[in-house]
Symmetry: C2
Subunit: 272 residues, 2 copies
């Protein structure tokens, strides 16, 4: 999968590209079943909300064969190799649950803010590629993006250790208000919240300002965030556990495009 | 303003009717300015979020001339007189702020659940008519409705005094999940979140199950909820303060349709 000239232009201007229907239902069903299994494991990589509901599973690609395939999937790897012009490695792998009724807020932040401050990543030459495992609706805590906000570099942030169970470098209200006003002027809207079916994919710049509200609905909203970093831009500070900020900088060798389908088929046959 | 046969049918089936552009910008500007003034008053009728931001102002129609006009506005009164077939009085008047960044959740509930349990209202012959003072967007904490849920009568509820600063009779997760599944089957969607410009109006049944998520955006989302009750259905228990559940059961005499415009004009002239 290569980005078109139009997609590259839109990415430069807005800071994100959305691909509806990137994965087929059969591929997503496999990932979703595996996600449910993982979120209920009792491991240090699984973080919980203050209520006890699962919030985030880190590094599932290291202990789940299915997510291992996803982390090397050419539909995710190739666009980022194209943008960075070199090989990429997995900096972080998160499965965010945003559980029905209990999924809590992620405050306004830039991901690169954390990668730079906590991990010593030299440049914002890394980004998230989000894979929707459930339908993301306007009502179940969608990701909210401020278009164009990636063009401001790394903004001043405070380390919020209180609001949720997960510490985050967050932006203040004045900054978010100003960025939304600028986005309204430049792009006609202050906030975009891409919605779509399971299998949709959202790629966004490491400096794009984003947040997501709590999920108060019965509809879970699981998203996998695969963070890929240009190999030459690997991190230099090892302050966070290895399963949060990885230290294996080997360029990813993609699997075949039908790897998830083949896996699903092999497992069906084995079960029969 | 009278409801059409189609609107009455839709109200019976879905439990709500939405009127975009019910009030003109000039009328809404008057109400919005007055709302900002009121929300910053230091009075017992103004409730605050745990953060201190304004959450709800009760009974503003009793101490604000402008909101007094709104509470007697024919575009709000007439549809309810039509539905109930008799005069109506103001049971409750709320200005919900859902402040930028700080507006907190309203959990899943039925309004009539509270009116019956706390106020001894005999039948669900009262309802809310919501007037949008700000633009209600998908992202700034819109009201979420479960279509058709008003047809289940008054559902079992628990008294939640902890989640927010305002105690509420709330429904449990299993009930909400079941109602959403039924709504999906009957109406094609489990949750509807009407969005629209300032001046839009939403009328919904006293037993319609609804909620609203926190507002994490820079966009405030003020809504006035005028609760009108059929006069013959007045409350019988006076457990809540008079400014929360009113005890004047005199039928409302509507003002002229241009009352807000005339008020705005008179005040402009006085200021010149």
């Amino acid at each position: 999968m290569q980005l078109t000239a139009e997609q590259l232009r839109s990415f430069d201007e807005q800071g994100f590209v959305f691909f509806p229907d990137c994965f087929r239902e059969e591929e997503i069903a496999l990932l979703r079943d595996e996600a449910e299994r993982i979120l209920h494991l009792d491991r240090q990589e699984i973080w919980r909300e203050k209520t006890g509901a699962p919030r985030t599973a880190f590094a599932a690609h290291t202990f789940s064969e299915v997510f291992g395939l996803l982390a090397r999937h050419p539909r995710l790897i190739e666009p980022l190799r194209q943008v960075f012009g070199e090989g990429v490695y997995v900096h972080q792998f998160k499965l965010n649950a945003k559980a029905a009724f209990e999924g809590e807020v992620w405050q306004w932040h830039q991901d690169y803010g954390t990668w730079a401050r906590d991990d010593g990543m030299p440049q914002p030459r890394a980004m998230n590629i989000a894979v929707f495992l459930d339908e993301v609706m306007a009502v179940n805590g969608p990701l909210m993006l401020i278009p164009g906000s990636h063009q401001h570099g790394t903004l001043e942030a405070g380390h919020d250790k209180l609001t949720t169970s997960y510490p985050l470098w967050t932006l203040d209200k004045d900054t978010v208000t100003r960025l939304c006003a600028e986005a309204e002027a430049a792009h006609g809207t202050g906030i975009v919240a891409p919605t779509g079916k399971p299998g949709s994919v959202l790629m966004f710049h490491g400096n794009l300002v984003h947040a997501s509200p709590p999920n108060i609905t019965p509809y879970p909203r699981k998203i996998v965030y695969l963070t890929l970093c240009a190999v030459s831009n690997h991190i230099t500070k090892f302050t966070r556990p290895e399963w949060i900020a990885h230290r294996d900088f080997t360029p990813i060798v993609p699997v075949a495009d039908d790897a998830l389908l083949s896996f699903a088929q092999a497992h069906r046959e084995a079960a029969e």
